[in-house]
């Protein structure tokens, strides 16, 4: 599904190059559930952002769905990720001024989907996540676990092929975290959505089918479960 070849990302500070990612290569297939682990500063989030096309590598080749992302223009990249990728964040990042329903609906608006169809899609999603009763609440009125649920629902509403999650359980207690992980597993199995998550937790990482350990911008080890 995606292939990164010799990806580097560095910042020029004075005469030195500070590498965030250093000549990293990685292939991920359709239907995988990959956990990326590593200490702070090892390049996890940067890697995730490059995969999500929110960030650009300094050098290297990046293919996604057989398209050479490194050759695409900003607009084409954005069209690509709009269609295929959903994002989940540690801090949920819901729009405070919108209700649960409206937050979930937002990506559809940008995909120019008609109102009636949007309503149906959002209703399905609410139903599936068991949050129908909360649809008119604002993010501030929800618990962290519930907010993240909404965040995931929003990421999935556009039927992405790839879900990118940056420490999705980082702000949650262990029980809430477990629920989110179960949900990921289910999405991965039942809907065939490829998932790449960054996590600090061994336990959560084990929900995946492959664990990639990063250190200083390189892949230190890969464990297939």
């Amino acid at each position: 599904m995606l292939s990164l070849q010799h990806i580097s990302k560095y910042y020029q500070t004075g005469g030195n190059k500070t590498f965030v990612l250093n000549d990293l290569s990685l292939d991920i297939d359709q239907g995988e559930f990959v956990s990326i682990m590593g200490p702070s500063g090892s390049g996890k989030s940067t890697l995730l952002n490059i995969i999500g096309m929110l960030d650009e590598p300094t050098s290297g080749y990046h293919y996604f769905m057989d398209q050479p992302v490194h050759q695409l223009k900003e607009k084409q990249r954005s069209a690509l990720y709009k269609q295929y990728i959903g994002f989940v964040f540690q801090a949920y990042h819901l729009i405070d001024e919108l209700t649960v329903l409206e937050n979930i609906e937002t990506p559809l608006i940008y995909q120019n989907i008609k109102g009636a169809e949007r309503k149906a899609l959002v209703a399905d999603m609410l139903d599936r996540f068991n949050i129908v009763g909360k649809k008119d609440l604002f993010p501030a009125q929800l618990s962290g676990g519930q907010q993240q649920l909404v965040g995931i629902a929003r990421a999935l509403i556009g039927k992405p092929k790839l879900l990118l999650a940056d420490e999705p359980t980082g702000n949650l207690n262990s029980k809430q975290g477990e629920e989110i992980m179960e949900l990921f597993k289910k999405i991965n199995k039942e809907d065939g959505v490829t998932i790449i998550q960054v996590t600090h937790s061994e336990k959560n990482a084990e929900y995946g089918s492959r664990i990639i350990n990063l250190l200083d911008g390189r892949i230190e080890s890969t464990t297939t479960l």
């Binding site: 990042h93 405070d96 001024e97 919108l98 937002t106 940008y110």
Partner: protein, 798 residues
Amino acid sequence: MLKNYFKTAWRNITRNKLFSAINITGLSIGLGCVMLIILYVQDEVSFDRFNDNGRRIYQIVHHGRGPEGDEQKGSITGAVHAAMFRQEIPEIQDICRVNSSSGLVKKGTEVISERGMYVDDSFFKVFTFPLVEGNSSTALAGPNNIVLAESLAKKYFGNANAVGKTLQINVDGKFEPFVVTGVAKQPPLNSTIRFDYVMNITRTFQKQEWKANDLFTTWLNSFILLRPGADRAAVEKKMERVFNSYAGKLMADIRKQYGNKIYIKYVLQPYLNIHLDKGNYYAGNGLTPNSKSDYSYILGGIALFILIIACINFVNLTLSRSLRRSKEIGIRKVSGSSRGMLIGQFMGESLLLTLLAFTLALALVSICLPFFNEVAEKQLQLSYLFNPQTILLFLGLIVLNAVLSGFYPALVLSGFNPVETLYGKFKIAGNNYLGKALVVVQLSIAVLLAIGTIIMQKQFNYMLNKDLGYKPDNIVNVYMPFNNNPGTNIFKSELSKYPFIKGVTAQNTAFDGFTGRQFKANNKDLFSTQFFDVDNNFINLMQMKLVSGRNFSSTTDTVSCIVNESFVKAAGWKGSPIGETVTWNDKPREVIGVIKDFHSASLQSTIAPLLLDQGIKDNNYYVLVVKIDPAKKAEAIQTIQATYKRIVPDQPCNYSFLTDMLADQYKSEKRWKSIISTASFISILISCMGLFGLATLSIEQRVKEIGVRKVLGASSAAIVRLLSLSYLKLVLISLVIASPAAWYLMHRWLQDFPYRIEMNGWTIALAAAGSILIVLFTVGSQSIRASMANPVKSLRNE
């Protein structure tokens, strides 16, 4: 998508009450000012445009030079000018001469003053004043026909048909019956010619035959209607030729006597230009005084200033708030929004806010209109706003305002990188020079206006309180009737019986009346010289000061005169002027006294050479000057009115306090003072609201920094100093920018006043201290609150 934008916008507005309030209030005040000015300007430029023949109507005006080569212009002509030109120039289709009348109308036993005009019977053909009753082509045919305006017809005859009824109108001092032959639609307010009733003018011409002499006697306004396609320049050329052929010989005689500099020529002033003409033709004879287009520009400039200040608030607050919204922007981008869509969203928000402000502005305007009308001397109505042209203009204004205040923030905000905003790396650009520059612009405008206000106020007080050379307090001018003046002696003897009348004297005309005369003194012609006929009690009652010589010894002394110091200087007498001779009309008068220069005119003009003499006859005096006891003002006025009614039953008693009349001379200064001070108040208010919002936001963003500093041992005072200092710097920069500009502008303004205050550093210092205090107060409250906060709270949540 639009619905989603609208929803976010609406919720953003309602959640951030402080910022929405600052933005909406500021913008609505700014927009309200612009609306008022649009109303004003629209009224100004629409003057007289309702006339169907407007483009073909001209006023006959004259340009010329006086005996000293001084430029002279005027719009007053004689009766023969227009008639002469029409006879000789075929391009002139019609003429219409206009003059004011006494305007006195009798209703029962009451005499009421109305706006009455004498006009030619072509009046309704030349100008567009449609008749609702009567036949416009014959209505003014007879000498005792009268056409009423709708309002007057209603006032005197109610809803009944007025045509055929009779009104008693005062003509040449007597009441005569006039037959109503028509009722005209009410003349609009934006008309140079406005009337309550019109009568045929030809009855007022004593002689109809054309004597060349008559070309130099002028008292009325002449309008002509050119034939379609006629060329104005060609007609003017012909007018010059015609005038010279009729008056050439007399002109030559005049030049021989007064010098070759004298010259006169008649030209045409387009009727539609009259209201805003810069030509300074004196508008007399009951015509609406013309206005300066400068006023429109200045007012427009001020309104624009205020709107800019409000827009700056919008830009600054939106940008400062962007930190809070950066997350939303990031999410929207990650969810697939393009930059263009985000720009659209933010523009939509500013449009929504502008619309809200606009609604509020309409309400504000409707509340403020009466006050504005008073200041602007207009009778504008809110309903004027609702014509297609104005609505279009306002739509444009709304869009312009939304773009002006929304586009830049939209551009900046939509450019945020989602990775930075969503991963907490985002910081608003450190120095925010643009924001600071905008604040400096705001403060500079406010300071400029504030300095202007202070200087105008000082000059105004100076003019009102300067020693005029006499005591105007408690002096009442009572105006004698123009026709059949009974004289002032009878009033003097009647009024002096009362203890609250402190003294009575007489004057040929009040100080605001024009009394020029050409004197000969010391073998010189003194041209621009003023004179007043006064009685021998005048100098004492007015408490004027004789520098040398004596007052008139008796009321019958008509061979002596008293001159002022400027007269002595102009005459150039060596030694004592007492005993010198001043001559006019070949009658010599002996100078018996010199009076200290006094200000009879406003302080905007220098004191002219002036001569006081005594009237030959008692009915030469048209103003009775009464000094009253201020403790019994009401009683005194009542007594004066009752006495007047007894002696002159046919006339309403017109009187005015001299102090009011003098203050009236500064009406325009007073008006500008109130406009500038209101503008400066508003601009300071809006700027401060913006600063308050900015301070609140920037402190919110620095809450962590403040916490760290406090933990490290900074005192509350040090924190307040730290937070306020940055704003203080901006004030100082604004002062540096605004002070020289204000100094220059006010210096120029003061040049129009020969008697003026000295500008000094204190004015600037006062404005500086004031603005620093206001800004510190605005910012300080927020700084103090922040400095008192417990650092544990601000540092805990991370």
